[in-house]
Amino acid sequence: MSHKYRPTIGIECHVQLKTKTKLFSGANNDARNAEPNTLVNHIDFGLPGALPVFNREALKLAVRAALALKSEPELFSTFDRKHYFYPDLPMGYQITQYDQPIISGGQVSFKLDGQVKTVGITRAHLESDAGKSTHPEGSANSLVDLNRAGTPLLEIVSEPEMHTAAEARAYTEELYLLMRYANVTEGDLYHGNMRFDVNVSLSLTDELGVRSETKNLNSFRAVEKAITYEIKRQSELLDAGKAIIQETRGWNEAKQKTVSQRTKENADDYRYMPDPDLPPLVLDQVYIEKIRAEMPNLPDFWRKELGALQLDEDQIQLLLEANIDYEAVGYMALIKAFLSKVDLAKTLVNWLVNIEIPLMRSSEASVKLISSARNQLYSDVMRLSKSGQLSSTGAKELITKLLTEPELPGDITRFAEQANLLQQSDQNELETIVKRVLDANLNAVKDIQKGETKAIGFLIGQVMSQSAGRANPELTRQIIEQLLK
């Protein structure tokens, strides 16, 4: 692949707002399990004379988004009509915000390979979604379902300030966390709650080249792959002395490539005009301050809280995602409760990252323990580990077992003992086993006495197997050394 061109990437992201009803009508907004054309009314169908009325909740969510993007909402913004004809757009225009959007400016910062990168936000505007179309195989027709028509979206437009596919991916991941932590969207990527359009251009100079826009990517991986593909495709065209066409492309997941969709119409072709049905939005500072005061903690708050633990970025990312995916558990708050002792908090993070969270991801239903018992569970397991009664394998098994019970047992030590998870730390019992092993392995004993300490490991292994894996290895070593002195 040619590296002589500098790629420039800008991203538009459509965030579906977490409202009960649509942006301009009182129809239910959750189309996920609804039969076609059941969450509709005269407004969503674009019938003549229907009057759209703005949803107050959408404004609140847009203000929260503004604050999460380190911006301030605009005190005055307006709605416009963007005209184009397409079968999934019954009114013949989309209601959006053109020259006076609810958010102007902002930024998203994230860490990539240890470096902090900040991407500017150009603007973000409220708009209504179109309907959903399907194209049955072999049919001469397409089918349109208007359940999604009118769903509130916030389109967040970044500055063209990214230069690699990895940067773009990291940007979309951070934007996702911000929008979920700010409680703006459900963030269900599978159902298209956040969809990304990526603009990619290549240039040899500071002047931007002709861009392609790959639309409707609904995963971070697809964003990264589509951009990587576009950089390669455009490089090859430029190397061959061919021109890049400004066009809209789509990502074909099966073929792992972008494909041309249509040449992009110019902005004037949309014939934007102010929507006379929708009066402007005028915000005052009191309203904004009230929302600011109610803002939930954002990812950076938790990154700072966890700073003392010096976790790597992947661990923090995993915890941040789990914390929001399993809000009822509240992983960040749980870790915070252990922060006064850094070594304990690190042990906890290790267990969460390697035991509990993978278990939640693979079979959430099997985890039955009430959230409030987590602190006790982990404190108890830490105590047993620290006293040497529990090996790391034993700790993993015990945690897994305890998580699948609705409540903690009254006596956790007894529970672990009955489950055969405690290490054999009784000096006398262990000595009996060690003596038996020494008698049965006289060659190894001779080797050790000759100074070949490697054989100790072999003997410890024998003791472990005789004790069904429950012998405390450190204590076993001490006993062997003592007996052979």
Binding site: T21, G26, V53, F54, D88, A140, V144, L278, P279, P280
Partner: protein
């Protein structure tokens, strides 16, 4: 003075998904230009200190609570307005290849 060319009219027709024959194109060039000339009188108005008028009602922040509203229309009634319906979906000419 703005004059619409034949190409302008053809482009407008394409955007509006209208099929025009040769006579119609000539008719529209003439008629649309007449309309433009009429509207062009506005160019004479001094607008230096004026804000654009998007609204004439003076209203702001017309909003509703985020609660479902039963408007009394059944989906089946709404679908009666649609030329072709298949399995409760709106059937249209195929949109993609």
């Amino acid at each position: 003075m703005a004059r619409l060319s034949k190409n302008d009219v053809l482009k407008l027709a394409r955007l509006a998904r209208l099929e025009l024959n040769v006579t119609e194109v000539d008719e529209y060039i003439a008629e649309l230009n007449e309309i433009l000339e009429y509207v062009e009188q506005l160019q004479g108005v001094e607008t230096l200190d004026l804000k654009p008028t998007n609204q004439v009602t003076g209203l702001t922040n017309v909003m509703r609570a985020d609660e479902p509203i039963d408007y009394g229309y059944l989906p089946a009634e709404l679908l009666k307005n649609v030329p072709q319906v298949l399995n409760d979906q709106i059937q249209v000419k195929r949109m993609v290849e």
